[in-house]
Symmetry: none
């Protein structure tokens, strides 16, 4: 895939994000995405097998950015509590960065069992394992309760972040999502803390 090709794929994905965020997956048409991307309808099918594959593409790219773009590098150092704080901060920053993308992650991705499964079995699992790793580290360090199952805890953390993100989408005010990081961390730390 050379640069030109890649550029066209990128433009299609960018266009899809906007259109899907605005009107929903079923409310958009391949034609509209093509028009916004500045390509012909048929061109879409040179880069994606079908309409659903565009959504998968959007989603994959988002998760690549999400996970590749920071979360993985967290493991480098610091105590578990700090890491947790960083995860919360980063999650809300990344999701809050691009409203259209956030709509897709929080709303459009939940389209069907099929999609949710895809999500939960692949990229979400990866992400949850990173969080669970932090929990395990915390338990080893003695700062997090030992009686909580790490993967369960990771899901609770994700649940909190997800809820806050969805809430932010729906509020549709001009607040920054990351402004809520402090509160979320505060809540989660207490739930996880030892002693």
């Amino acid at each position: 895939m050379n640069r030109r090709t890649d550029d066209k794929r990128t433009r299609i994905l960018d266009a899809a994000v906007v259109e899907i965020a605005r009107a929903g997956f079923y409310g958009t048409t391949v034609s509209k995405i093509a028009r916004r991307a500045g390509v012909a309808d048929g061109t879409i099918y040179l880069y994606f097998e079908n309409k659903e594959a565009i959504l998968v593409g959007v989603f994959d790219r988002a998760m690549d950015r999400f996970i590749g773009g920071g979360v993985l590098e967290l493991g480098s150092g610091g105590d578990a509590s700090t890491l947790l704080k960083e995860i919360v901060q980063l999650h809300l920053e990344l999701v809050g960065e691009d409203h259209d993308m956030a709509v897709i992650l929080q709303v459009e991705l939940r389209h069907s069992l099929h999609f949710m499964n895809l999500f939960s079995r692949t990229r979400l699992r990866e992400y949850l394992e990173i969080i669970a790793g932090v929990v395990v580290q915390g338990q080893r360090e003695g700062v997090f309760r030992a009686d909580l199952e790490p993967m369960f805890s990771a899901k609770m953390v994700f649940g909190a972040l997800d809820q806050v993100a969805t809430d932010w989408i729906l509020a549709d005010d001009n607040s920054r999502l990351s402004a809520r990081a402090e509160d979320v961390f505060h809540f989660l730390e207490r739930a996880l803390a030892a002693g």
Copy 2:
């Protein structure tokens, strides 16, 4: 609305739950719902304005059962911690009771901003306020931390329950959802507890 009429509306909603849970809102047709309900296509439109209204109907009935069927009676007595435990228990029991309905609540309802808005502005708000009320009571009783904003706490509680429910849907094993109530309560109680 007499018994006959009510019966037909009920049958349509029941059929819709099954069809939508199975194939998604956009994957089902009005015809399929009608066939399963044992009525003619046109009959659907005597009870619902359009296809979307069926989904709203499904959702409303579920929330009526959900809120009417127990959560409201919680306020009667007991300390805040017990009430929270009961909410957690009841939420997971009710959602876990009917897998098809759960799929709709956890997946299909999140279809679009439009639906999420409907959800969040109406019944979810009502529910969150009940939870927030328990938090306030706990704070007054001195068992819950006073430094947490009650509505924020309520959202965290809901986020945890929601995550567990979605996780259960996706796991698709034969576990009972309510079996996870203990762990969730354990997590949330610690997050909220004073001291």
Copy 3:
């Protein structure tokens, strides 16, 4: 058909005139006509075989009023020119009397070849023959040109009246249709006059 029955039929026709004039034959539904008439949908079918029969009913009643209600009595006396003047006057008065009815006569009746045929072979023919009779009388009296075929002349007269009536419908100002009688007569008399 007793008085009660007749009353219901009348109410249905009255309702049909209003609905059809307002929205067109295809733009109305049997249900709407029934609602306006204050009867049940099914009741319509006790009085009319099907939807089209309602239009035929509306049309027949209108023509009965039209022809029965004056034109036939013209023959009684007077010279041909006066009779022509009276026909023109009466035609425009009757059509202009009820705007809804006029819309049906000038617009809705022209729905299809089928209807136009019905119209032209029955009531219109009857009417044209009355006019042609006046022409013949005028020719005999020597006031109308003898070189014009009476039925052709009658059609020209009707064409003029019809055009003026349609024009009035479309103008939709508050003018009275019969105000145009003078001009029309003026035009037609000259066309027909001998010498």
Copy 4:
């Protein structure tokens, strides 16, 4: 619009004329028109916004042919009486040329107030003004009566032509419509003539 495209649009209009003349606008389906035109149903919508737009298209093309194809060139020369004769002749020739098209002009176009308005406010007005121009010329030349309002006279002329055309459609014999031109002109000339 290149040749291919234009060709397809033409084929759709041709097919529509036949289908609509045969069964009426509401008696035809988009599918039938498509089949006769030899295109897919969806193709219709590449050329027309909806079913009604097909009828408008049919009507516009007819009026273009009608007005563009002769009547406008009349103004060139000759006295008013000759011009009137030519208009009558041309009108009946053009309408009589294509029976299907004539059915649409005389019957289908009168379907509804909506259509009649469209007709009367646009192309008919244009046409009436041409006729009125001839009347004015005749009045200036002193061959037409000065006491007739030109636009009113034009409507009378059109009413006569329209009536004859409709009559021809309904007669459905094998006569040529233009054969009636002589009589119509004879009638109208006398009505308009000065002196």
